[in-house]
């Protein structure tokens, strides 16, 4: 094994161990969660015999370790099983819903970056001026706004009052690209604007730190303009802390999308999770949570790897 692959292998091993531990925790939580899936399925007046029979059909009468091993074996072979409630295969459901959530989170991230990078740099470069302080203050207001509230305000303005964008729903991109963008606009803005405000603060403080370095002063003394200073020196050196924040924010957005999906009636992974919890469709809940956990672990690992590419000093340390 070549030397530069070793850190990657170590990272992969850590990821697998984390996922295995997470699976144990997720399963344990589901096991102690009050509420019987069979009882929920059969209704308020169901008799004990009928409930016991359905529990046996679901396989819930088996010992917990057997259920756990069975579930994990399914996970590693990408067989996520069938839903207790609908009897449908879980894998295609998760794939469809994950695609929807990926669009939402991806476009939210884009909005966040488009807002945060210029605003953060501006606030840093103009930190001694009124406009720079105003941008910082605006960011602070954005940080304190919950995404669902931003969503409700946007819907009230753009959908109810002006009628220019749909208030809710989802259109598959291949079916109607224009309608897809129209339906994605408000949810992406709701998710992205708040995260953009958070990211603005990280960008500002990272750029501000770099802005005080000697090499910036030297570059300025050589006659470099502000724009060139920012694009050639400041942004590159400010990237590490911003990247760290971005990794955490992606996880936050993935979880935050659960609320946004509810506000905008979007059939993503979050709404599947909430519905499945309510119906005690435990296998779907376990699978969705594991998919989210693995996604977040992979994103974090990806960010760690990216450090090395962004900053040679980090790569040398590794």
């Amino acid at each position: 094994m070549t030397a530069h692959l070793q850190p990657l292998m170590r990272r992969l091993a850590a990821l697998l161990i984390s996922a295995a531990l997470a699976s144990l925790v997720v399963f344990a939580f589901m096991a102690v969660l009050p509420g019987d899936p069979a009882r929920v399925a059969l209704g308020l007046h169901a008799g004990e015999d009928a409930v016991a029979q359905l529990r046996a059909e679901y396989g819930l009468d088996r010992p917990l370790p057997v259920q756990y091993v069975d579930w994990v074996a399914g996970l590693v072979t990408f067989d996520l099983g069938t839903s207790y409630v609908s009897g449908a295969e879980i894998s295609p459901q998760i794939t469809d819903r994950l695609a929807v959530t990926s669009w939402l989170v991806g476009s939210g991230l884009l909005v966040a970056l488009v807002v945060a990078v210029p605003a953060g740099v501006y606030a840093a470069v103009r930190h001694r001026h009124v406009d720079g302080v105003a941008v910082s203050a605006l960011g602070q207001v954005g940080v304190s706004m919950p995404a669902f509230l931003v969503g409700i305000v946007l819907v009230t303005l753009f959908s109810v009052r002006w009628g220019v964008l749909p208030s809710s729903g989802w259109v598959v991109p291949a079916a109607d690209p224009a309608a897809f963008v129209a339906h994605l606009a408000l949810p992406a803005l709701s998710l992205g604007l708040v995260q953009g405000a958070v990211l603005t603060r990280y960008v500002r403080s990272a750029v501000l730190e770099v802005w005080r370095e000697d090499y910036i002063r030297t570059a300025r003394a050589k006659g470099l303009g502000t724009v060139q200073l920012v694009t050639r020196h400041a942004l590159r050196n400010a990237a590490i802390p911003v990247l760290t924040a971005l990794g955490v924010q992606l996880a936050t957005m993935l979880i935050g999308s659960v609320v946004i999906e509810r506000v905008f009636a979007i059939p993503g992974l979050g709404s599947l999770l909430l519905d499945s919890v309510a119906n005690r469709d435990l296998l779907v809940v376990q699978d969705v949570v594991m998919v989210l956990v693995v996604l977040i672990l992979v994103l974090n690992a990806l960010v760690d790897v990216l450090y090395g590419f962004v900053d040679p000093r980090v790569r040398e340390q590794v």
């Binding site: 009050p34 509420g35 019987d36 929920v40 399925a41 059969l42 209704g43 308020l44 007046h45 169901a46 008799g47 029979q53 359905l54 609908s86 009897g87 449908a88 295609p92 459901q93 794939t95 469809d96 819903r97 695609a99 990926s102 669009w103 991806g106 819907v155 009230t156 109810v160 009628g163 749909p166 208030s167 809710s168 729903g169 989802w170 259109v171 598959v172 991109p173 079916a175 109607d176 129209a182 339906h183 570059a219 006659g223 470099l224 050639r232 020196h233 509810r262 506000v263 905008f264 009636a265 979007i266 059939p267 599947l272 519905d275 309510a278 119906n279 005690r280 990216l306 590419f309 040679p312």
Partner: protein
């Protein structure tokens, strides 16, 4: 400047090969993610190609908004009001159905005869009915449907079929059902999902597909967002006004309201937050309708143990709560006061709202008489809007007469069913029982309220086995008895609050059956 450019040029490895930059890696990752999303979307297209927004171009299409989406389309195996709400009457039909006044009228049976001993029902089938699959509907399908409801359905609502002794085909258009004892309730239950008729040659996976004789058939189920219905090509009568109907699901009440205001839907089936009705009032483009449902909101007592096993303590709690004020505070004054377990649309309704009148002094006297002037109780609430908003008012009223109330919340349905209904670990709870004509089931001794009164059991049995006239008299007496016994406090009846575009007609004012009838809807 050149030095700076050199310093931050492309990163290279010691062997001189260009190492991918962060930008390059980001681009690759982004491209991979986009490719995966497109691939997934294309893959998912077959199952969900349709918009869930109302961008339909067909003027004869209709979008109706609901809050609860079915978890499965199979009401034979999965409980819940959402499935029959969408499918009963629209996709599946029964031999009999309810009309807008709550009367039992012909459905797939054009008529029926009841024997002298009230145990035998002979149904004459309406000729010409055909399933969406093309199979004609006949007596064999009736035998198959009733037999399988009796033996194969797993949900508890099918227990009403226990009374069926035998079902036999007399001819292709005649069926005889024999009951083990007379039962007025059985014929009524045949108007609900239990009476739905399925094809005896059916191979449909009912969890995800449909095959009924109704005017609509399932076109597409976009899980998590909508159910699309299209006309049943074999429907025996004239097609409904709206050939294409989209049932859209919004978990969030505000999102549902906004969907109507922004033109995404045409009808809100039932407004879940009555205080939000104000935004629709005074608008010329929408109309609001307020009627009754079959959802009685109960302050349900644990009659079997704890402080509420004493009738006087239960009566004290009833007298302590001013229901009119409570409804105004926690449900925006929308709803109907009932006083017992009977909505005004049932034939045996009687105004019992003054049993007893709110009187806090009388409540204190009852508690003193019971020897517990300051009973401590646990009020366990499901996390449902009406329960959480009314819980605080109930707590205040009870504490005003001497109760000490410890209140907590349980997740509904699973947590509440486990703790309250199954575990019976409660003194009182607030919950709406929405099934039609559910008084006998809710106040049976083995149900979670633990109410046991032989006289009540005698009355409901007599009502079920007697003539329809006897049924009214006996059910009325039974309703009066549980009110006087304070088996529960009947807080109010949930309202049926529909909002629709002003050109939509035919929406029923009251919600009487399990179904949301799409066939009566028209546009001006």
């Amino acid at each position: 400047m050149r030095a700076a450019k050199r310093n931050y040029g492309p990163l290279r490895t010691a062997d001189g090969f260009k190492r991918p930059t962060a930008r390059g890696l980001f681009s690759s990752a982004a491209a991979a993610v986009v490719a995966a999303m497109l691939a997934s979307c294309s893959a998912g297209e077959a199952s969900s190609p349709h918009s869930t927004g109302a961008q339909e171009t067909d003027a004869r299409s209709l979008s109706v908004g609901f809050t609860a989406e079915p978890a499965s389309l199979d009401f034979t195996q999965q409980d819940g009001a959402a499935i029959p709400q969408a499918l009963l009457g629209n996709v599946y039909e029964g031999l009999v159905k309810l009309d807008a006044q709550g009367r039992i009228v012909p459905g797939l049976a054009s008529s029926w005869q009841v024997s002298q001993d009230r145990r035998t029902y002979t149904f004459i089938l309406d000729g010409g009915a055909v399933f969406a699959s093309g199979d004609p509907f006949d007596a064999d399908d009736v035998v198959h449907s009733i037999t399988s409801a009796k033996s194969d359905w797993s949900v508890s609502v099918a227990d009403v079929m226990d009374v069926v002794d035998s079902v036999e085909r007399l001819s292709p258009t005649q069926v005889r059902v024999t009951l083990s004892r007379p039962s007025n309730d059985w014929l009524f239950r045949m108007t609900t999902r239990v009476g739905a008729m399925f094809s005896s040659e059916d191979t449909t996976d009912r969890a995800t597909a449909t095959n009924g004789t109704g005017p609509y058939t399932l076109k597409q189920w976009n899980r998590g967002s909508s159910i699309e219905l299209e006309p049943n090509p074999h429907y025996r009568r004239s097609a409904p006004y709206f050939p294409n109907v989209s049932l859209k699901y919004y978990k969030d009440g505000t999102a549902l309201n906004n969907a109507l205001l922004s033109g995404s839907i045409d009808v809100i089936s039932n407004v879940s937050a009555p205080e939000s009705l104000a935004q629709f009032e005074g608008r010329s483009d929408v109309k609001v309708s307020s009627g009754t449902t079959t959802g009685e909101v109960l302050l349900a007592f644990n009659n079997a143990s704890g402080p509420f096993s004493d009738k006087r303590v239960r009566q004290a709690a009833r007298a302590a709560i001013d229901k009119q004020t409570l409804m105004g505070t926690c449900w925006a004054g929308k709803g109907t006061l009932i006083g017992s377990m009977v909505p005004p649309t049932d034939p045996w309704y009687e105004d019992l709202t003054s049993v007893p009148p709110p009187n806090q002094e009388h409540a204190r006297e009852l508690l003193a008489e019971a020897g517990t002037p300051t009973p401590a109780i646990r009020l366990r609430l499901p996390n449902l809007p009406y329960a959480t908003s009314c819980g605080q008012v109930v707590k205040n009223d009870l504490e005003a007469v001497g109760f000490t109330v410890q209140m907590d919340q349980l997740e509904f349905p699973a947590g509440w069913i486990s703790q309250v209904m199954h575990g019976k670990d409660f003194d009182a709870t607030i919950v709406a029982h929405v099934e039609p004509r559910d008084m006998p089931a809710v106040f049976s001794p083995d149900y979670y309220l633990g109410y046991s009164n032989p006289e009540f059991a005698r009355l409901v049995t007599q009502a079920d086995t007697g003539t329809p006239e006897d049924e009214i008299v006996d059910m009325r007496a039974a309703a009066r008895l549980i009110s006087q016994d304070a088996a529960a406090d009947f807080l109010f009846l949930l309202p049926n609050l529909t909002v629709a575009r002003s050109n939509i007609e035919g929406l029923p004012t009251n919600s009487i059956s399990e179904s949301f009838d799409l066939t009566s809807l028209r546009a001006q």
